[in-house]
Amino acid sequence: MQPTELSAIELVAAIRRGDLTARACTEAFLDRIASLDGSINAFLAADRGAAVAQAEKIDARRSAGDPLGPLAGLPVAVKDALCTVDMPTTCGSRMLAGYQPPYDAHTVARLRAADAVIIGKTNMDEFAMGGSNENSAYGPVRNPWDLERAPGGSSGGSAACVAADLAPVAIGSDTGGSIRQPAGLCGVTGFKPTYGRISRRGLVAFASSLDQIGPLARSAADCALVMESIAGHDPGDSTSLAAEVPAYTKLLDEPLTGLRIGRVAAHYGAGLDPEVAAGVEAAFAAFEAAGATIHEVELPHAEYGIPTYYLIAPCEASSNLARYDGVHYGHRAEPERGHRAEPERGHRAEPERGHRAEPGEPAAAYVGEFDSPLVEMYCRSRAEGFGPEVKRRIMLGTYALSAGYYDAFYAKALRVRRLIQQDFLKAFETVDLIAGPVSPTPAFKLGEKTGDPLAMYLVDMYTVGTNLAGIGGISFPCGFTAGGLPIGFQLQGPALAEPLLLRAAHQYQQQTDWHLRRPALAT
């Protein structure tokens, strides 16, 4: 078998045993990226030289009998929202084209400490805002199951690269579904842990009270393996949880006998694709067959999840993205046309669009007058650096926090957020997990929803509640449509129920093979 066909657990074991060198493993994935990613566009940066050098170091240490980390030699792709000292971190934005952070995100540092090999940075919706990866300034990612379709987002590159066997494991971030939804649309396993379980330090912030890092892999067991290395307390993140990290991989095998799974009738209303509904129902049946019991539960305020989320997240984002003002880093609009200094770009990612005027093109005619050259620089830098969806959310958040609107919008959303959290707490009094679809439809066509922001927002309808409540969720494939697109299944659990979520998904995957199916890709 090719290394690219092995699971993360198998790869780590093979490298540890000496059946496979870290170098061969890394090169196998890099070769596959080189041959396939031209059509998928999952990666924004890949540093072959550095990755191979790191793999060689691990091989040398193994030969010398030195102790190796738990992920020794495992190639890992990292969403471009996580800072890396040795690769640019663009967050899918023209604003940060070529931006080179001076520090590693906590998760990246943990991966390196575990001797993983960071093979590249994955494409994403700009600043993690989007559900299709079409908001990347570096072009959309294509779904490996159908290159005309979106992979979902915002961690679309992370989901697609795992689905296409370009990486055994990828790191994503999930603010309203950005790990689980693309995992569902790409047929991989995506895990969003409890808020605070993994440090956010070095994750470029979108909405700080909702953002959470997590792994995407082929299986729940592979997610568990990575979680053991990246979860845990970080004194550098005030919102990181101090609770001990369990040995997730050791807690996967217990059968599901007696597990109480909640089913939410309201999930099956209008908008849910019938093939998705059928796939999800079959998964419920499989869980029952495995010994779990299914119980109807209510999440009475679930229907308010999207409006609540689309107030809180933009409000926080409007503030988190204020730092991109052209002063300390990032894109700055130059005062005079023709003297524009392009930022240096070390890697292949080039922004595809933006309002940047080409030579000879007339300057954008902005409305109104600027108070000063400084204000003009701010306004134009941000107009040029951000794409339309990011601007929309900054505008919405700025509006909802501004004088006279705060109580009606932001404060109101915080109260409804409490109701949504209470719904979950109440439901978890009677069930251990809540299950249902990840998204209302399978992967949609590129361009299908780009003209209608609201329609795009609704793709998160089943996932945002998890983030609003700060709890954990996992999504994994539970079938395919007649057209050959993956159908995703989601489990949500109470705070710190990571072991149970991973075990339930793993037990399901022991009985089914949906997660082992691979798209046919021409190499």
């Binding site: 971190t89 952070p101 001076p102 005030s238 409000c315 926080e316 204020a322 730092r323 300390h328 705060y406």
Partner: protein
Amino acid sequence: MTSPSATTAPYTTVIGLEVHVQLQTRTKLFCGCSTSFGAPPNTQVCPTCLGLPGSLPVMNRRAFDLALRSALALNCKIAPFTKWDRKNYFYPDLPKGYQISQYDLPFSSDGSLEVVDPKGEFSRQVGIVRVHLEEDAGKSMHDEAAGVADSRIDLNRTGTPLCEIVSEPDLRSPQEARAWLGELKLLLVYLGVSDCNMQEGSLRVDANVNLHIPRDDGSLAKTPIVEIKNMNSFRSVERALAYEAARQYEEWQATGAELGSAPKQTRGWDDAAGVTRGQRHKEESSDYRYFPEPDLVPVTVSEEQVAAVRAEMGEPPAVLRGQLQETWKISAYDADVLVNQGRDLVSWYEQLARLTGDGKVASNWMQQDVLRTLNERASTIAEFPLEPAAVADIIGRIAKGDFDTSRGREIFAAVVETGKSVAEVVAEMGIAAVDDSDLEALCRELIAANPKIVADVQGGKEQAAGGLIGQAKRKNPNVNPGKVRAMCLELIKRGEA
């Protein structure tokens, strides 16, 4: 009570102050960068205080404790639950595009600080609206004279912990405002909370001022409130307020504009020109869109914590002044002079007072000799070469009659100068105490040589004996003038001359 201007001017000046003090921590509020002043630009910065993507804040415990100490000393109520908020605005010295501050739930509120003029001209209890903890911004530098197009941004100061102290509009004159600031600064320095160095920007003051003008019909006209910025010393605060009060009165006479007729105006103080000037103020720039800072968690403060901070706080200056007056029987004025010099000098004084057993004499020595020496040397009591015991030694010898006070001062100066002990200096100067028999012989000699004086004294003019003292000192500089006088009078009265 009233203040001088209120009794002379046809209006009352109403002043509230907003003071920012940098807390004396080693590191910044949310990161481990140094807070020391004067380093080359952008050498004390890290991802967090630069606001780099992905960076996060973690609060400095000492900063919170110092803020708590300040609030307690200002008699504030401490909130059992407090949180931080983001104040959003764009400015190049604010790299995140928001300042982490406190909005609706500051950690303390409802305090007070009294200022009492030691000369008794005014006293004022000033309410404190709130004290909160926030981060400082960086510095923008623009050399207009050089005609350079760019401003330079230094972020070393960014993230330094700041306590914001907001007073009620309780002050009634520029003099009161200056005195109150002096008292506030003294308090914060006493507490070890801040060095309050205005030159280095560790204490900054903005003032809100308007006038209450009684009209003939008995009603009160209130002028629009003006916020004054850019005041770089307590003296400039006093000058700016005095200027602004006069300006507002003139404007009111001209326009009759009253409070509420226009939004609050901001004016900057131009110290060289001695005027305030209107600053451009955009309506939208004050829409700060505060919301809870999601990168920090709230803080709860228990009563035990409050008690612990209170216990280790030490006496504030006002309490200390009272204690000194009570214990050492010194005047309010003397206690004020001593306490204003800082806690170290007060404890030096208290040692001296204990050793001599006379607080009044000790206070005189502190003010006339010790403080003068410190001023001449521009040094602090911590650097003073003498121990209290040495000064107590000199005072003791004077009391014993070894030499008089003026001779004692010379000895003090010599000890300070040479670093020798009091005994050594006394020996070197030949100030052995004059033997009683030597003294008697000297007095007899003088009486014999001055029959006119003797006759005057016998005629009832005792003050004539002063002439003998001068002659005695010329013959032997070490004689105690008091003793000479007493012995001469006795000898003359006994008729033994």
